[in-house]
């Protein structure tokens, strides 16, 4: 182990710069860090062996950095824990600001009315904020996840700092010195709002994968393959090269599928009549029904404008479905909004001008309504000592579940039009990248069991969200930009899927953890998939050259995301998922909005248990086969003949699902993806019915163990 002690000496820094230049992934950080005083630690993990000191089950490395400056701060001792994936890397570099470490920081349980807290040390790294409490429990917060930092009024115990994250973690620190608090506050403000793409984590994240594997990762999802799976191109649909170089529509992908009868002039003309050039294209093709889901943006119809090419385009889509003589046009906006748009020269299709269309509004609200709805929801769910009645009325006032219901209702309408009426549906909203994405993707999910598999779900997101230009960067606020562009559109989609998984527990290959993990990474900016607003932008950013794709990583750990109850035959048999959308079917998604508030979760998880069990079974089956093979080998030896018989009596018993004691492993084979959720029993301190203590004027016992931020490493 080598730890570098750095004098604040320009020469050393120059050397280090050189050293960093060799490893591409760290240099951007170095050059863009806002501070003048940087301290570098380089840890060579090569010699990091079994003899290193341990802490609990983890190995600890202590690194020192010493320096002097005008403020007289001298030394930092930084414990590093091997649990982090960083340590799989042979060599790691950390860059620290001089106030990188603040001692005696309190982490407050945000729901406690008696201000229970954990004391520990807060570290600021180039990518994460890290809190390690006295019991060495770590809380990692990625800078990109920080949605808001707030400094509250100074109290006697220190300066409170509240950090709200995009993954719905809320942490409340109390920092003893105001100056430190101010430093951290300012640093986080800068770090959480990068000004340009190259500052994002994805460009420095390096999981030490070789280049060919990295490239393979990007090829994992192939949309051309997906269209082939659906059955296009075919006699009615073809690949159009109209947007080959993004000449017609910048926010669409290069490859677009259109009806064979739609000529290039029709496409071009239609795109000119559609907002942002987003003309009607194929999103999903239903092979059996020969019906399609198409998507576009609103027409520039104003009060009376018409466009012959656009009318032809819709006609072409309509006749691409040979079985049918009408098609649906779904405007996912509330009628009022659509009408208001007419004044701005936009609007919706006039049924008189288009042959054989059935026009339908479905009334999903716009991004601004959704943003403030989520804001209200979070305010309510974050309230201390919340009563049931204020929770329910807050839930009602936020309108959140109403919006989720509206999105699902629209998806059901869409899916039924196809499955029951065999009709093609064209979906649009205003620009066709928010509500349209929600409705098209959820609709496809209801219709096609493939999207209910892990791989299929990735494909669905790549197709309807990433390639069709859902503005992830703007909607997730990846860069310092217009806060009015931020909106939880994708979160709503995931919540819609979650509601379906709740109603159809056997229809989905993936589980809730999968949805949560995707949500995590949509905001983490750790992988290239969700950066930028459209494919064109992604190509310009050279994401496929400079970053990693999320999907292979999720596939690698797919064990964690498997739904043990998944029944492939069942899912495929269901031609159409028909969820119940009576209001009582919608629930608050606790595991999303309180995913870090462990005290609210069930203390024992059925899914984990079953997953462990089926995992054990698989292992046992493997063991059994090995044993069997070995037995066969030995049985060939004549002296073993006598013992053959009892062993063979084992054979009729199926090797599956056996847990006979001698086979039993000591530990569950699958590490629970979250041990906290499976604790038996629990601690009274977790709950807040206990706070009559004040009445008794008694000191709080010291054994309080708060199941708070369990570190979830995202690097």
């Amino acid at each position: 182990m080598r730890s570098t002690h750095i004098q604040r000496n320009p020469k050393v820094l120059v050397e280090l710069r050189t050293c960093f230049r060799q490893s591409r992934e760290t240099s951007p950080h170095f050059s863009t860090l806002p501070w003048s005083l940087n301290v570098l630690l380089i840890i060579d993990c090569q010699n990091f062996g079994p003899n290193s000191p341990t802490l609990g089950s983890r190995k600890v490395l202590t690194c020192c950095a010493r320096w002097t400056d005008s403020l007289g701060r001298g030394e930092v001792v930084f414990p590093l824990l091997t649990s982090s994936k960083r340590f799989r890397q042979r060599r790691t570099a950390f860059i620290f600001h001089r106030s990188l470490q603040v001692e005696q920081v309190k982490l407050i349980d945000r729901f406690s009315t008696s201000n229970k807290s954990l004391t520990g040390t807060l570290y600021l790294t180039a990518t994460h904020l890290l809190f390690i409490d006295s019991s060495q429990k770590e809380t990692w917060i990625l800078h990109h996840h920080i949605a808001a930092v707030e400094k509250l009024a100074l109290t006697t115990s220190g300066c409170p700092l509240v950090i709200q994250c995009k993954n719905f973690r809320v942490v409340h620190f109390i920092i003893p010195r105001e100056r430190d608090c101010h430093d951290i506050y300012n640093s986080l403000l800068q770090l959480s709002k990068p000004a340009s793409y190259d500052e994002l984590y994805a460009f420095s994240y390096n999981p030490k994968q070789n280049e060919s594997k990295r490239l393979q990762g990007w090829q994992l999802i192939d949309l051309a393959e997906e269209y082939k799976r659906m059955g296009v191109p075919n006699s009615n649909w073809q690949l159009s090269d109209a947007n080959r170089d993004y000449e017609i529509c910048e926010s669409y992908p290069r490859e677009l599928y259109v009806p064979r009868t739609a000529s290039k002039p029709v496409i071009v003309g239609s795109s000119k009549f559609r907002s942002k050039g987003r003309f009607p294209v194929l999103s999903y093709y239903h092979r059996d029904k020969e019906a399609a889901i198409c998507r576009c943006s609103q027409p520039l119809s104003g009060f009376s404008a018409r466009c012959l090419e656009d009318e032809n385009m819709l006609h072409a889509i309509s006749i691409a479905n040979p079985a049918h003589h009408y098609m649906y046009v779904m405007d996912t906006r509330p009628k009022l909004n659509a009408m208001a748009n007419r004044a701005a020269g936009k609007g919706y299709e006039n049924e008189d001008n288009y042959a054989n269309i059935r026009f339908q509004f479905v009334g999903i609200e716009n991004i601004h309504v959704m943003r403030s709805s989520l804001q209200k929801l979070l305010e309510v769910s974050g309230t201390k000592a919340l009563s049931v009645n204020s929770f329910l009325s807050g839930l009602e006032n936020s309108g959140w579940l109403r919006h989720i219901k509206a999105v699902l209702d629209a998806a059901i309408f869409l899916a039924k039009a196809i499955a029951v009426e065999n009709a093609t549906v064209l979906v649009h909203c205003s620009d066709g990248w928010d509500r349209t994405s929600q409705v098209c993707s959820l609709g496809s999910l209801l219709l096609d069991s493939y999207y209910r598999t892990i791989k299929g779900f990735m494909v669905l997101i790549e197709k309807d969200w990433i390639s069709f230009g859902h503005k992830f960067s703007d909607r997730c606020g990846q860069l310092d930009g217009d806060p009015k562009e931020i909106s939880p559109v994708f979160t709503q989609f995931l919540e819609g899927v979650w509601h379906l998984t709740e109603q159809f527990p056997q229809a989905f290959e993936y589980n809730e953890a999968f949805l949560l993990q995707i949500h995590e990474h949509v905001h983490s900016c750790q992988f290239g998939n969700f950066l930028g607003n459209c494919q064109k932008e992604r190509e310009e950013l050279k994401l496929k050259e400079k970053t990693y794709s999320l999907w292979p990583f999720l596939l690698d750990e797919q064990k964690k995301y498997l739904n043990p109850l998944y029944n492939r035959d069942f899912s495929q048999k269901l031609v159409l998922l028909e969820p119940n959308t009576v209001s009582f079917s919608f629930k608050f998604w606790r595991n999303m909005y309180h995913q870090f508030d462990r005290t609210m979760h069930p203390r024992q998880s059925v899914f984990n248990l079953i997953m462990t069990m089926s995992e054990q079974n698989k292992q046992l089956e493997k063991d059994f086969k090995e044993l069997e093979a070995k037995m066969k080998q030995r049985n060939r030896q004549p002296e073993e003949l006598l013992t053959k018989e009892p062993l063979q009596s084992v054979h009729p018993v199926s090797p599956a699902l056996r847990t006979s004691p001698c086979f039993k492993k000591e530990k569950p084979l699958l590490p629970m993806n979250d041990p906290i959720r499976t604790i038996e029993g629990s601690n009274t301190a977790d709950n807040r019915y206990s706070e009559y203590m004040e009445e008794l004027s008694k000191a709080e016992p010291a054994v309080v163990s708060l199941e708070y931020g369990v570190a979830r490493m995202t690097c």
């Binding site: 919340l386 009325s393 609210m600 079953i610 006979s660 004691p661 709950n687």
Partner: protein
């Protein structure tokens, strides 16, 4: 009274039965003294019609009739929240069926109820009535401590008409003191032991309110009794299930709550829990909201809120947790009472035991708990569950306290899915049987009444039916593993859920959820059964160390 007088039309042909989620069935409707039967019309090939409906009339909560063009429609709203529709040809028949059903369902005399007539062949009377005697429970305590004794002072129900003949009291207190203390408590419900916490020897007591009255009366015996429950120098908590205000006001009516001056070692905590009329109304409102599937999201949430049901669940759970916490963490004894000590008091003491005591979380232990803390403890089942959420009758003493308890247990089961030995289906069965049953277990208001009506001699016990292997198996939770720890639930509103299995049972299809549950059951039991089935396998591997040392160590290394 003869049942026959109430039955004007005993049989109607061509009646159509419909209920939501099922295709309508046509058949012959018969009405007997206790049942409505509908057998479907036999098919053309002469086969016998099958009985499609076998409804205990006692289960009918409300009968609504509508007559148009000689076709009458009767809507039967049942106490288990199911709603049935019968289309009856003939106006007169319809009206007769409706009035007979109404009359038969509201027979109030206990002795006329179905349990007194129900004689299944496979069961013997008297079985199951002695399954969970208090003596057993007392012996468990006696094996740990000598501080408590079983008193039979109430053997003839003269001290307290709602207590069972035997109660557990401090060993140092004699029966005379009990008699005097009883006079100082409403309904004679003097403090008795409800639960002994083996871990630290603390106890939970329950009683009714003391009769302090406007003149601030005291009672030495009562003070001595409560003091005897505490260890030397120990202290206790009195959890009053009324608000401090309400407890104070009760003095004007002769009641009140223990003043600190007379009970210096007891600290009072007030936790208001709703009961009586407000609770019944909450139940009615919730059922109404659940039945209206046309509600918009906002209306639904606002109705759910205004029903306050989940607030009651939270209140009950947190008060029970408070009691449990006083015992487990403060090492203190607890006395729980409200006013009469027969409703919210029992809710708190029973729930606290489920939280604290792993034995109460087994199927048999749970039955024992219900027997001890609800039935013998004198919860007035007959009054409380005469009508359910649909009834148009004027409410008297109805209140779904026991349902609230079951809901709380369900919430515990949701949060600790491996810690209860029984599944949701048991809770549903209990819910049904409190309102209408062919067993005598939930009849009457107290042990005294049960004695007077010979319930234990003339009816079957629900437990002996539930404990038949086939039934028992149905209600086992396949995921159960013994958990010796206290199960502290989260009582945040975000952690509480509407009990869909009960309130939406007849409203939404649960096919996919049921299938998923069956799958869980299949996965788990196929794992558990394995060691038994493969006994031969285990055997032949039990001595392999000699025969196959390589094989065994080989896998061990790889593992």
């Amino acid at each position: 009274m003869e049942f026959a007088e109430l039955i004007k039309t005993a049989k109607v042909e061509n009646v159509q039965l419909s209920c939501s989620g099922l295709p309508p069935i046509k058949g012959t409707l018969c009405i007997t003294s206790h049942h409505l039967l509908l057998s479907s019309q036999p098919g053309g090939n002469g086969e016998q019609g099958t009985v499609e409906l076998w409804l205990l009339i006692r289960n009918v909560d409300a009968v609504e009739k509508r007559v148009a063009n000689s076709l009458g429609t009767i809507t039967l709203k049942c106490k288990d929240l199911k709603v049935l529709q019968l289309e009856i040809p003939g106006m007169e028949e319809c009206l007769n069926i409706a009035s007979s059903t109404e009359a038969l369902s509201s027979v109030d005399s206990v002795m006329m109820m179905y349990p007194f007539f129900y004689r299944p062949q496979s069961m013997k009377l008297k079985d199951g009535w002695k399954l969970y005697p208090l003596q057993h429970y007392y012996q468990q305590i006696a094996s740990e401590t000598g501080a408590w004794r079983l008193s039979c002072a109430n053997g003839d129900f003269t001290i307290c008409s709602s207590y069972p003949p035997a109660v557990i009291v401090p060993a140092t207190v004699n029966d005379n003191v009990l008699k005097k203390a009883a006079r100082f408590r409403q309904g004679g419900r003097f403090p008795v032991l409800s639960y002994y916490h083996k871990k630290n020897g603390t106890v939970m007591l329950r009683s009714s309110q003391p009769l302090i009255g406007p003149n601030r009366k005291r009672c030495q015996e009562d003070e001595a009794l409560l003091s005897a429950a505490l260890d030397e120098g120990g202290h206790g908590f009195i959890i009053d299930t009324r608000s401090a205000q309400a407890a104070k006001q009760a003095r004007m009516m002769g009641g009140g709550t223990e003043p600190t001056s007379s009970y210096p070692r007891w600290k009072r905590l007030h936790r208001q829990l709703e009961r009586g009329r407000p609770l019944q109304e909450s139940f009615i409102k919730l059922v109404e909201a659940c039945n209206d599937t046309s509600l918009s999201m906002d209306r639904w949430l606002s109705k759910l809120e205004s029903s306050k049901w989940l607030a009651h669940v939270k209140g009950a759970l947190s008060t029970a947790c408070l009691a449990a916490q006083c015992m487990e963490r403060e090492d203190a004894c607890v006395l729980v009472h409200g006013a009469e000590g027969t409703d919210t008091t029992l809710l708190v003491t029973a729930l606290a035991q489920v939280i604290l005591d792993p034995d109460c979380r087994t199927l048999a232990g749970f039955q024992g708990l219900l027997e001890r803390e609800w039935i013998e403890a004198g919860h007035p089942f007959h009054f409380r569950y005469a009508h359910s959420a649909y009834s148009h009758a004027r409410l008297k003493q109805e209140a779904p306290i026991f349902l609230l308890f079951l809901d709380c247990v369900w919430q515990l089961g949701r949060q600790f899915p491996f810690s209860l030995q029984f599944s949701e289906s048991l809770l549903l069965v209990l819910f049904e049987h409190t309102y209408a049953s062919c067993y005598g277990t939930f009849l009457c208001n107290s042990e005294k009444e049960r004695c007077l009506c010979d319930v234990k001699e003339k009816t079957h016990s629900l437990w002996s039916w539930l404990n038949q292997p086939s039934e028992w198996k149905k209600h086992l939770n396949p995921l159960y593993t013994y958990n010796a720890l206290v199960i502290w639930p989260s009582v945040e509103p975000q952690s509480l859920q509407l009990w869909q299995g009960l309130f939406l049972r007849w409203i939404r299809s649960s096919q996919y959820l049921d299938e998923a549950w069956a799958e869980i059951q299949r996965l788990v039991t196929s794992c558990e059964d394995a060691p038994e089935e493969s006994a031969g396998c285990t055997l032949c591997h039990s001595q392999p160390d000699v025969a196959y040392p390589l094989t065994i160590t080989g896998t061990a290394n790889e593992g």
